[in-house]
């Protein structure tokens, strides 16, 4: 069972604002799902290597060449708040 405090903690880590009602619902849902996932505990995984992704390729590299992005204005238009071509955000410190 995931407690309300744990759910609040996870929501904080995930940067998701939650109401008191949300906390109850998510605690309940996460508990049910995690209980169901627990069936993996019955599998013997001793000496089994993990698979991160299936193709098995590693460290595909390319030159890090600078290329001009031609659609700069369209990116700036997407800023939620823009000032002089900069993305305006709340003060960080």
């Amino acid at each position: 069972m995931i407690s309300r405090d744990e759910t609040k903690h996870i929501a904080g880590l995930a940067r998701i604002g939650v109401s008191e009602k949300d906390i109850d619902k998510f605690s309940q849902d996460l508990s049910v799902i995690l209980d169901w996932i627990k069936q993996l505990e019955e599998v013997n995984v001793e000496d089994v290597e993990p698979t991160a992704h299936i193709s098995g390729v590693m460290n595909i590299l390319r030159e890090d060449n600078v290329k001009e992005f031609l659609n700069r204005d369209e990116i700036i238009k997407l800023f939620p708040e823009e000032k002089d071509g900069y993305d305006k955000v709340k003060s960080v410190l």
Partner: protein, 482 residues
């Protein structure tokens, strides 16, 4: 269907503009009831269609897909077009670049009718989790079209598009194809570039076609597959194959595996459709063999750990800072308070709180939990290890057979609202499809015999990068059962 339309285009029987307008007429007539589309791109579509007609008028050669109108799932970027992934947090997002699949299709001269509805960020199996409104199944509008690529499948089924692109992380192309009575292909992981697809779970996501026939799906795959060295390091070297050229319909001597563990748990209807399909494949000269996939039953819990972990990381970017919804511009009476002078943290918390839907938040939180300190080994690492065992199951199976036959989903399309209350019930929709994503193999959904009046899809899974055998067997079934 694409080949026939292509012939009509080059013979002058129809024009691309006429064809495109016909599809927009269909959309206008039907889409108020179906809601397959979130955004229409009529101007862009007609401009492209005109170009193709001009080429044909000049006697220039045009490709198979050139001038043929299709629909694009709304988690795939088309430059200059609104791309929401059916989420409020991206309600005003205009993609500043083309996905690689879009670039390729543009170069081939395909026409894009618009962007299709889906479960928010591709998380769902019914398209009910769209932040806009649910899509309805054109075969029975009281029922869901499946998901998450429900808009794409419904558009093709309702003749609101000739073909469509979807994305498949745990079954999101194949299950809606099954529910809507069309064909859906999830290619091998790495076959199609993921650049420009809004990431859900990067080790599982693949873009693929939804179409009226296996041949059409093969044509689309030929157009969109191939290495994308500068953008997607997991994309595989291109074979340069034209998959439609491999559809001989001859499957004599191929070995098809039936999964013992799956057959035992089917309901009576599904069993009947499956047994008929098995008979049909036997009659075509295939050899049917029972196989075991002892770890396949763990694919779904593995999926929910790996997928949600990758989701929690991939969706961290939607925070109201660089693009998308920032909470102050969100005016809605649902908000129980409107904070003033929010600080930076509050901007994050509230943008995500109000911008993301419940299922998306649930999965982000599940992933955050399983990756958090003290739980990583027990959940994520263990899931990755069991994933290896599932992969080995398939390696062993493909030593004995060429293809594996299963249903796509446990049952035909369910009623709208039937499974929305219980997340686990909805997750179980993916039980037969998700293993192909875990193992990275290609899989196709094509219509079997109907259950009552409802379509019911059959799935074939194939060896890594052997899409041609998969497509040919599905094609053989299609031409022998229609």
């Amino acid at each position: 269907m694409i080949k026939e339309l292509h012939e009509k285009l080059i013979s002058g029987e129809i024009t691309s503009v006429k064809l495109t307008e016909e599809y927009f007429d269909n959309i206008e007539k039907k889409d108020a009831n179906i809601f397959a589309y979130l955004t229409l791109t009529k101007e862009m579509a007609l401009a492209q269609a005109k170009k193709v007609d001009a080429k044909i008028a000049k006697g220039e050669t045009v490709g198979l897909i050139e001038g043929i109108p299709g629909a694009i799932k709304d988690n795939i970027c088309i430059k200059g077009v609104r791309t929401t992934a059916a989420s409020k947090i991206l309600d005003n997002y205009i993609a500043p670049y083309d996905a690689t699949v879009i670039k390729k299709l543009k170069e081939s001269g395909a026409v894009f009718l618009g962007k299709t509805n889906m479960d928010e960020f591709a998380m769902g199996s019914s398209t009910e989790k769209s932040a806009y409104q649910p899509t309805r199944n054109p075969m029975d509008i009281e029922r869901v079209p499946g998901g998450s690529s429900g808009g794409s499948a419904a558009a093709v089924a309702a003749e609101e598009a000739v073909w469509a692109l979807g994305s498949d992380t745990g079954g999101s192309i194949r299950q809606p194809a099954s529910f809507c009575g069309v064909v859906g292909l999830k290619p091998t992981y790495g076959k199609v570039s993921r650049y420009g697809l809004l990431s859900m779970a990067s080790s599982l996501d693949q873009i693929g076609p939804i179409a009226k026939s296996v041949e059409d799906a093969a044509i689309i795959l030929s157009e969109i597959s191939g290495e994308d060295a500068s953008h997607d390091a997991t994309s595989a070297k291109s074979s340069g194959k034209r998959y439609e050229d491999y559809l001989t319909g001859d499957i004599k001597g191929i070995k098809i595996g039936i999964v013992k563990e799956y057959m035992e748990h089917l309901n009576a209807d599904a069993k009947e459709v499956m047994n008929e399909a098995i008979e049909s494949f036997k009659n075509m000269g295939a050899e049917i063999k029972e196989i075991n996939l002892p770890y396949a039953k763990y694919a779904l819990p593995i999926y929910y750990i790996i997928m949600s972990a990758e989701v929690s990381s991939n969706l961290a970017r939607f925070d109201g800072i660089k693009y998308g919804m920032r909470v102050f511009d969100f005016k809605n009476s649902d908000i129980d308070f409107v904070a003033e002078n929010r600080n930076l943290l509050e901007i994050y918390l509230d943008s995500r709180r109000y911008g993301l839907g419940e299922e998306v938040k649930r999965r982000i939180m599940l992933g955050t939990y399983t990756l958090s300190s003290g739980y990583y080994d027990a959940y994520y690492l263990r899931a990755q290890k069991v994933r290896t065992l599932v992969k080995r199951d398939f390696e062993k199976a493909f030593g004995e057979v060429d293809l594996i036959l299963t249903p796509v989903a446990p049952s035909p399309a369910f009623k709208i609202g039937e499974k929305t209350e219980d997340p686990l019930q909805m997750y179980l929709e993916d039980i037969f499809t998700v293993t192909a994503n875990i193992a990275g193999i290609p899989a196709i959904s094509f219509p079997g015999r109907k259950v009552g009046s409802l379509p019911f899809g059959i799935q074939l899974m194939g060896k890594w990068f052997d899409e041609e055998s998969l497509l040919n067997a599905a094609h053989a079934f299609e031409i022998n059962n229609n």
